[in-house]
């Protein structure tokens, strides 16, 4: 194009020369006649329409040059943006790993989770109900059951407790995942009386069996019994997210298959291709009605609930993670608004440059594109730094994140996260670049050239003010959210757990069935452990309890009070704790009325129980529960409705067994010497050993050898202090609180920078006005108030908008809050005050600068 145009001009000049003009004059005239050559080129390129990429490269290159000429601006903008992009990307990669990535199984959308429904509870399915469901339903291509269990594994080194599942034979087929070695167990192996087989996880194979390639067919010892390894599942296989390491066949006995009363199975089905969730649910409703009639004692009021497996497993994570995603989204918007503000400031000082370009023939569209390209350069650099930041943030999150969050360890910066970061960077550069660019492009040339260097027409910039208001309101919403969580965490930390948690060590001991099947043997073994542990130096007392507070697990039972009629609708669901007589005194659970258990409370005496205050209040409101009787836990010789009475001998304080921020459940205690024999199966022969020390070092090794000395090859696991258990139950909420607090602080900082930026720019622009006012006698205070007032006005408008937004947004938080209403006045007030104070501080510097304007200098500035 260049050569062509040059040819044209020279040919024109040559003609002129021929007509008798001098060569130089001819060239001059030729150029004059031709017009602005650059403009022609520009229009020519547009007419050709093929050079978009060229132009884009040119624009990008130019943008990079412009930015490197103002490094201060570039660094601030890139860092602000990187903060926004980094935080968003890190949280997105967590959300992606935990919530969005499909479960590692074949066609996960057809896999459903089935629970029973009784009143407002969703317990597991009883073996009897599962067997009937499997026989009667037609909606499922596969239907399997499993229950979580842990096993004492003996292989080479110390005995170890591993988590696993007891599963029916079609468990693996339901998920459609193939083993990496060997096979699953067969239907025949899933029958009682067969030789024991086991399928193990890749992790167990690698860590405990040294990745032995010939592991299939080898024997290992599980719970003291030999079993043959028949298969190894791939690394990704953990369909119920329970960190399972081994699976053994359920092999339900005829007795188990007839049991409709114990509800503990995880039932998972794969829907047939042409069956929807709703159709399957309605079939289940029909079957439920049939079961209710067939087994009125066990299945009265019982229904089934069907959910997609992903919802059942990950539903709990949604709220918190979405909240985080929204929070980082706000942060990103604030960061963008800040950069847009910076750009607007710059665009004012660049007006001349842009007017010059327009004068040289750049079309408005071209100028907008150029400015957008400049922002794109910012966005891309910010994106790269942001991804680096996200790497770092993600590794921090994975190291400190709550252990209970499933699949968190799978979060990483991968292709989809990078694509996300890229999209965010592009979106943000467009968002923060468009307004300034459009404005610059609409600049009228002659006005710019006519303008002096320091007057600015005096109008306050509405767009910039609007952006600051937006920033402030978003920051306020974040701050309110964080404030509510902080306040909730503070309240939780003051909750009385109901017992003395200091100097208490807890560990779980599971006795294998072989050798400890006899209830008396099991009880005596635990009693011996208590005696030996209590004799350790530094130990004050020791006890066992079926499930220690905050240690996880528990079994619920329906109670029927004697004075309320033997009607199933009067059942009170409550938590059962089986304890040694020394437990309440060891844990220091305060006795409120009556007496503690004694070693004399044996099975040949009156069956006794101690209830917590909540249970007493629930069943006998306003009455003295001591001496009352209730039926529970077992049936008498005359069958299911033959009650076995327990007499209440004591009332103890409520213990926060499920976590400090959880509601207290009705709970009752029965002595280990009086427990029904079948209860040993309910608790899997597993008890928590509780030891109170005199304040000395935690005797971890001693406890291990105590257990080993009493029950060889039996490990003690989940051994930790009660304080540690409490903090691990609060891990999740503290993590949420901490992250949100960081985001809110950053948001506050960014928006105060926004306020500062707008005000100081206004002061700079109006230096002359201020000078004139001062020359005319305005006091420094008046000037300062003017600037401060403007800043506070922006902050207040943002505050009001933010409060409205927060009222709408925090309602979603209510399930994360403990004893704090989402509209908590104290939080809203405190947060507003903090925001106003910070805004005041941000306005103070520009205001002070305004008062230092020297009228003489300002006027001469022109």
């Amino acid at each position: 194009m260049d050569a062509e145009l040059r040819f044209h001009i020279e040919a024109l000049a040559a003609d002129l020369v021929r007509s008798g003009v001098s060569r130089q004059e001819a060239l001059r005239r030729a150029r004059l006649e031709f017009g602005a050559i650059e403009r022609v080129k520009e229009e020519g390129r547009e007419a050709r329409g093929i050079s978009f990429v060229d132009e884009m490269m040119q624009d990008l290159h130019y943008g990079q040059r412009v930015l490197s000429k103002s490094p201060g601006f570039a660094v601030v903008a890139v860092l602000t943006l990187a903060l926004g992009i980094g935080a968003t990307t890190a949280i997105f990669s967590v959300v992606n790993a935990v919530l969005m990535r499909p479960l590692a199984m074949e066609d996960p959308s057809r896999v459903v989770y089935l629970q029973e429904q009784w009143r407002d509870l969703f317990p597991g399915v009883s073996v009897g109900n599962f067997a009937d469901l499997k026989r009667q339903s037609t909606s499922f291509a596969k239907l399997c059951a499993s229950n979580n269990a842990s096993f004492n594994l003996e292989a080479r080194e110390l005995p170890e407790r591993v988590d696993g599942e007891i599963a029916t034979a079609d468990y693996f087929a339901t998920f459609g995942v193939q083993p990496i070695a060997g096979r699953f167990f067969t239907v025949d192996e899933d029958k009682p009386g067969q030789a024991r087989v086991v399928v193990i996880s890749e992790r167990l194979w690698r860590t405990r069996l040294r990745a032995d390639p010939s592991v299939v067919g080898q024997p290992i010892r599980i719970n003291g019994m030999p079993a043959t390894v028949v298969g190894v599942m791939p690394k990704s296989f953990d369909p119920l997210l329970g960190n399972s390491d081994l699976w053994i066949p359920a092999a339900y006995t005829a007795e188990q298959l007839a049991d409709h009363d114990d509800h503990y199975l995880n039932v998972v089905g794969r829907l047939k291709a042409n069956v929807s969730l709703a159709q399957a649910q309605s079939e289940l409703n029909v079957i439920a009605q049939r079961l209710q009639q067939q087994y009125p004692l066990d299945d009265q009021d019982r229904g089934f609930r069907l959910q997609p497996l992903a919802t059942a497993l990950l539903g709990d994570q949604r709220l918190g993670l979405r909240m985080m995603l929204a929070a980082v989204g706000f942060l990103l918007l604030i960061a963008c608004a800040n950069i847009a503000n910076l750009q607007l400031t710059r665009s004012r000082s660049r007006q001349k440059e842009i007017a010059m370009r327009a004068a040289l023939g750049a079309s408005p569209r071209r100028i907008v594109r150029q400015l957008l390209a400049e922002n794109l350069v910012l966005g891309l650099v910010g994106g790269v730094v942001g991804v680096l930041l996200a790497y770092w943030a993600l590794s921090w999150i994975m190291a400190h994140g709550p252990a209970e969050m499933p699949r968190l360890d799978q979060s990483r910066i991968d292709a989809s996260t990078l694509a996300f970061a890229c999209a965010v960077a592009l979106f943000s550069s467009f968002f923060f670049g468009l307004a300034p660019a459009l404005r610059s492009a609409s600049t009228r040339l002659n006005e710019v050239f006519k303008m002096g260097s320091s007057t600015s027409g005096g109008t306050r910039d509405r767009v910039r003010s609007l952006l600051v208001v937006l920033e402030v309101s978003l920051a306020l919403i974040l701050m309110v959210g964080a404030g509510l969580l902080v306040r909730s965490a503070l309240l939780v930390s003051h909750v009385d757990p109901g017992f003395d948690t200091s100097n208490v060590v807890v560990g779980r001991v599971g006795l294998p069935d072989p050798g400890y099947h006899d209830p008396a043997v099991a009880r005596q073994t635990f009693e011996r452990m208590i005696t030996v542990a209590a004799a350790l130096p530094g130990v004050e007392s020791a006890a066992v309890v079926s499930r220690a507070p905050l240690a996880g697990g528990g079994s619920s039972n329906g109670l029927l009070a004697e004075d309320q009629g033997l009607d199933l609708s009067n059942l009170v669901n409550s938590q059962l704790q089986i304890i040694s007589p020394s437990y309440l005194s060891t844990a220091r659970v305060p006795l409120k009325a009556g007496r503690d258990f004694t070693p004399q409370d044996r099975r040949d005496r009156t069956l006794v129980a101690i209830v917590n205050e909540t249970l007493a209040r629930t069943i006998w409101p306003g009455e003295n529960p001591i001496g009352k009787r209730f039926a529970c836990c077992e049936a008498g010789p005359k069958g299911r409705m033959d009650p076995v009475w327990h007499e209440v001998v004591g009332v103890v304080a409520d213990v926060r067994a499920w976590g400090l921020d959880h509601q207290v459940q009705p709970e009752f205690y029965i002595p280990i010497a009086q427990m029904p024999p079948s209860a040993w199966d309910w608790i899997g022969r597993t008890m928590d050993l509780v030891v109170r020390t005199g304040g000395g070092v935690v005797p971890v090794h001693e406890l291990q050898s105590v257990v080993a000395s009493v029950a060889p090859a039996v490990p003690i696991y989940r051994l930790s202090t009660m304080q540690q258990k409490i903090s691990s139950t609060l891990e999740r909420s503290h993590f949420d609180t901490f992250l949100l607090a960081i985001f809110a602080t950053t948001a506050l900082l960014l928006s105060s920078v926004g306020i500062y930026g707008v005000l100081s720019n206004i002061v700079t622009q109006r230096t002359r006005d201020i000078g004139i006012r001062m020359a005319l006698g305005a006091s420094q205070a008046q000037i300062a108030w003017d600037v401060l007032g403007f800043g506070m006005r922006l902050a207040s408008i943002g505050l009001v908008l933010g409060l409205v937004g927060a009222l709408a947004a925090t309602r979603l938080l209510s399930s994360l809050l403990y004893r704090v209403r989402p509209t908590d006045t104290i939080t809203f007030t405190a947060v507003s005050v903090i925001l106003l104070v910070v805004a005041l501080m941000a306005s103070y510097l520009p205001a002070r600068r305004a008062t230092r304007v020297d009228p003489m200098v300002a006027l001469r500035y022109e």
């Binding site: 062509e4 040819f7 040919a11 024109l12 017009g35 403009r39 547009e46 007419a47 050709r48």
Partner: protein, 113 residues
């Protein structure tokens, strides 16, 4: 030389097509050719010539190739394509009928209405 006329809006494309239909020309040559045919009565903005050329080329009505000019300089020559020929015909017809109509209207006398 008569009075110079400003080019009617939108007619430059048509004139370019006509000019190159008489034989391949470089940009400057097109300019000269149009001025010559019009007996210097048309004033063409030189700057607007090239964008129009590129646009026509982009639309596929003319093609270009580098060649040698009368005074042995490298120059880009434009030629009409088949599509351009059709286009020129269509535009010519359109122009003529439009001109007839306009002339008819402008030539109307009061008694004819």
């Amino acid at each position: 030389m008569g009075k110079q006329l400003d080019l009617l809006q939108g007619t430059l494309d048509m004139l370019i097509l006509k000019a190159v239909s008489l034989g391949p020309l470089h940009g400057y040559g097109i300019l000269l050719r149009i001025q010559q045919i019009s007996k210097d009565r048309l004033e063409i903005q030189q700057g607007s010539l090239y964008p129009a050329l590129y646009r026509l080329e982009h639309l596929g009505w003319i093609t270009s190739e580098w060649g040698e000019s009368e005074n042995k300089r490298k120059a880009k020559y434009y030629r009409l394509t088949a599509a351009g020929k059709r286009r020129l015909q269509a535009e010519t017809q359109n122009w003529n009928s439009m001109a007839d109509v306009i002339a008819g209207i402008l030539g109307t006398k009061p008694e004819e209405v």
